[in-house]
């Protein structure tokens, strides 16, 4: 066994430090790999963009007066699942006209966080938001300028079987 580590002159062939460095490198590779693959893939920006486009398509028809009064059931009208906004709090939707909120669904804090997000470079735990201004028409053909803000903080979850 000694011949593996030392030659006849007592010079070390295989240093114990070499193994230590190898294990440090191995630990680094394992840690890096686990960190990379355990991090979640962030699709929130895609979700908020899809949501805003869906709402825009849904509002592109001539709208009745009850929409502008804030009395339309938007979830039913645009085929949105209500619990995803109200109960689970994963999504946020705000429709406003001339700074007056017509509809606001989801967690209230998303509204503030979406505004803050426009001014910071990175805020990992804030929702990913998307904003769009569109023109819609009422039954009389009059145009209205609406601002839609959609946000997603939906990260998915791991569960036990």
């Amino acid at each position: 066994m000694n011949n593996l580590f030392y030659n006849k002159k007592g010079e070390d062939i295989l240093s114990i430090w070499w193994f230590a460095v190898l294990f440090i490198v191995a630990g680094g590779v394992v840690f890096g790999t686990l960190s990379f693959y355990s991090d979640y893939a962030d699709i929130r920006s895609f979700e908020s963009e899809i949501l805003i486009n869906k709402v825009e398509r849904c509002l592109s028809q001539n709208l009745k007066s009850n929409f502008f009064d804030g009395n339309l059931d938007i979830f039913n009208f645009c085929n949105l699942y209500k619990n995803s906004f109200e109960k689970d709090g994963n999504f946020f939707l705000k429709i406003s006209e001339n700074d007056k909120n017509l509809y606001l669904f989801g967690t209230q804090k998303f509204d503030e966080q979406c505004k803050i997000k426009t001014r910071v470079i990175r805020a990992k735990y804030f929702p990913e938001c998307y904003e769009k201004e569109i023109i819609v028409f009422d039954e009389e053909g009059k145009n209205h300028f609406l601002k839609i803000v959609a946000g997603s903080n939906n990260k998915g979850e791991t569960g036990n079987v």
Binding site: T33, Y37, Y40, I43, S84, F85, F91, G156, E157, V161
Partner: protein, 129 residues
């Protein structure tokens, strides 16, 4: 042999063998981590959630899930349990330990079916009544 008559071959050979052994383990570990059940569960849950969010009633989607099917089969997970829709969440199970679920906001009904060999997932989207 060097000038002093020492054998340097043994030292180099052992060094090479140990290097190959250790890097082989690293490579095996990285490949396993990248193709593991947890990663694929998350990948498919999010991909399907985005597809469902973007779909209109009447849409039919066919998704190649051969890699997920292979993992599920290896872990003895039934085909019927691999992909489920529950309370507007897509739940993916490829192992017997964990599932991964992701919510979607589109209010639709989804009918799930599989091809005969289990490698294609069919999703038919209809209006939620």
């Amino acid at each position: 042999m060097n000038k002093r008559g020492e054998s340097i071959v043994l030292k180099e050979v052992i060094f090479l063998i140990l290097n190959v052994f250790f890097f082989g383990i690293f490579f095996f570990f990285v490949v396993n981590a990248s193709s593991g059940a947890l990663v694929l569960e998350q990948y498919y849950a999010k991909e399907i959630a985005l597809l469902l969010d973007n779909s209109e009633p009447g849409t039919k989607i066919e998704l190649n899930i051969s890699d997920a099917y292979a993992i599920a089969r290896k872990n003895n997970v039934n085909l019927e349990k691999m992909f489920l829709i529950k309370d507007n969440k897509i739940v993916v199970q490829l192992s017997n330990s964990y599932t991964y679920s992701h919510t979607f906001f589109n209010d639709i009904d989804v009918i799930i079916s599989y091809s005969e060999n289990g490698e294609v997932l069919n999703l038919f989207i209809s209006e939620n009544e």
